[in-house]
Symmetry: C2
Subunit: 205 residues, 2 copies
Amino acid sequence: MNTRKIPDIIIGRLPVYLRALQRMADMGLKTTSSQELGERVGISAAQIRKDISQFGEFGKQGTGYSIEYLIDKLREILKVDRIWDVVVVGAGDVGRAIANYQGFRDRGFHVVAIFDSDKAKVGQSMGGFTVEDAGEMVERIKATGVRIAMLTVPVSAAQAVADQLILAGVKAILNYAPVNLNVPNHVKVQHIDPSTHLQRMTYYL
Amino acid sequence: MNTRKIPDIIIGRLPVYLRALQRMADMGLKTTSSQELGERVGISAAQIRKDISQFGEFGKQGTGYSIEYLIDKLREILKVDRIWDVVVVGAGDVGRAIANYQGFRDRGFHVVAIFDSDKAKVGQSMGGFTVEDAGEMVERIKATGVRIAMLTVPVSAAQAVADQLILAGVKAILNYAPVNLNVPNHVKVQHIDPSTHLQRMTYYL
């Protein structure tokens, strides 16, 4: 399986398929079709067949896809057939929501620590964690080999913290600060910025 | 200006350009180039020129773009040259983070109410709001004409609440519940699901 040349736009759709398939499995469904999956995720059946066929032949003519098999394959492709440790930087409202959220484990992620530079927050309890001193973040990440971080610090601090994370060995940053980050090519960044999503919809109103 | 046939993928990039341009304006910059903007947002200069040219001629040969003018035009195109009222449904951790967040106003949005169906939460104070009874949500939205909602309820409730919102006249839903929603064609949905973003990055690790 040569996946090196798959366009990122296709990779971006796979987690959406996986989420829908996991929901169907939770509902007790055993098989599905590209048509049915497409209706659930709002993507055409033809697009889904094309996306999935990039990785091999997963469906049987006439019987559709085995949901369990397709889940296994998508988890393998996306490398979430394992659990990834994740650190959170920023113990504000968003950091708290992440610390309290119970839904990561089923999707392949495990929050292991939450850091803040505010001495008043360090030592506080948050969602089962004790907030740790951001001054110790780089050493902690180096020592534990964590490769994924969620960044929930203010815009003014985001780039400096990202630089530190990368120095510590982080390769993937989920950035909640509404600002673009400059990172080396080997580091992946995804953004969560509700205003951006809202603006994408107001265009159509 | 005929914008009806602009692909949604282009519309999705405009808020990212706008965010970067607003940051450049905050830093006191007056003009930029597609090259410079591209480096800030991680998109090629050619793609930016192509995207922006869909809406007319905004740059001058040799002098680049006026940042202020481009901001004005993008805000006009995205219809955030006005302030949109938004309701929040779900007064949990994410609802609280949204209620406390001060960054919406500058981007075109104003949270006007937060609802929850949990009687223990109704009446509580949250980020300057008093949590309102979800049982009164449909009437409130109908009376005020709000067209945008953020949905921060559990997966099990998301579809039913979305159905109510649409019944009340909501046309755009920012869905924080990690589940796809079935909505009529005239309603827009965007998702915020950190696990989906994380899975998009683990593929590359």
